[in-house]
Amino acid sequence: MMAEALARQHKLALTGNDAVAYAVKQANVDVISAYPITPQTFVVETLSRYVYDGELNAKYIAVESEHSALSAVIGASLAGARAFTATSSQGLAYMWEALYAASGLRLPIVMALAARALSAPINIHNDHTDFFGMRDAGWIMFNGEEAQETYDLTIMAFKIAEDPRVLLPVVVSYDGFIVSHAITNFYALNDDVVKEFLGVRTTGPRIDPDNPRSIGVLALQDSYFEFRRQQYEAMENARQVIKEVFKKYGETSGRNYAPLKEYMTDDAETCIVAMGSTVGTARHAVKTLREKGEKAGVVGILQYRPWPTKEAEQLFSRFKRIIVMEKAMSPGARAGPVYEDIASTIYPKHREAKMVDFTYGLGGRDISAQGIIDIYKLGKELVDKDKTDKVQFYGVRE
């Protein structure tokens, strides 16, 4: 890292949750609302301590449910506040109705999601079922691989959400327990650097007594479609804004982000695609495979919505084989959500790359580097034998 960028930050050792809380404190939010009990994760506990200790001048609203948590944040955001909430699994499911209200009202809310499995049966561990469940809710969706990415994305999320070209809510997801509860080192920007980077919120719909407006109105056959079309466009605009924010953040921090994280992809013939903490393990596995002469590479997904269509088309159309690893399943679908995004991106124009989909790690089942090597070998074989019509399940007892 350049000395200049290094002078703007300090090193911390915190859990993923505390890294998020630290970023939210530095973002100087005005309102935090959360349901404090399971399946909540302690990101909001740390924030409540910051507020109680006077380190963060914000209103902390503890509510009786996640539905109310997001609703309170929606109200705060309408009042002009920079507002934050956090949740996991069942809690996110309970927010479902309000997720669409937040994006439909065009509110720059930021939410942290420690990604976890959904009931039944009850499970508190990591997979991406909750995350993909909010795919079509109109939120910008990021996934942090570890504490550093999660911290950086949380800071950038406010900048992206509040851009007048966007005005959409942003979710920053990170793997439950694996990232949320594990302590790692990361660099945090100094308070004054974050303050300068973000400024104060000046955009977005607000309640203004001098200029009364009706908010959350009934829009029927004659106007609903227009509002939704406009919301779609805001998500399209977000592509450019994210690019600009990544660039500016790179100049500030020395950490340069891209929607898709590439590792040894330049000459790769077979590519493993993953999201979240698995990406790091996959890099390790690919390093081993390379030593054995395999032309393997990894693509990690950092930006899920807006889906980086252009970047994905250029990148994925280069490979011979694409092995997609998903910690979620879509029962009854052709394949999991990431497979479908990649397939729909490349296949209208490119037919060279062949794909196979693996479901793994549901309910927190561990994935090792050896496991990824197994998936790589099996995936390669299935593609070469043209046996890719079914989703594969890795690590389940048959």
Binding site: L167, P205, R213, S214, V217, S223, F227
Partner: protein, 92 residues
């Protein structure tokens, strides 16, 4: 009504300038309309208090039904202590 706004022109996030309900006349929702018999009316203003709209307009102690907005719910007729308000079927 003028030309409807395109998605590029429409206000952000389903928000519109205040006061739109005044333009939305609900009088044609009525099946029956309340008619006041001013001979029986004692100007007690109970109908004015109970009207949920408000579609009973008051000037001093005088009341008048605002048929542009009255939905014909009949609460005024029900509450009138002198039975001075009658619900009369609307002519189709």
């Amino acid at each position: 009504m003028s030309t409807l706004a395109t998605w590029r022109e429409i206000d952000l996030g389903g928000s519109v300038a205040g006061g739109t309900s005044e333009k939305y006349k609900t009088g044609n929702w009525r099946v029956e309309k309340p008619v006041i018999d001013y001979e029986k009316c004692i100007r007690c203003l109970i109908c004015w208090l109970y009207c949920p709209e408000p579609a009973i307009l008051r000037t001093g102690d005088e009341v008048k039904i605002d048929y542009d907005y009255c939905k014909g719910c009949g609460i005024c007729a029900e509450e009138c202590p002198k039975k001075a308000i009658t619900m009369v079927p609307e002519e189709i």
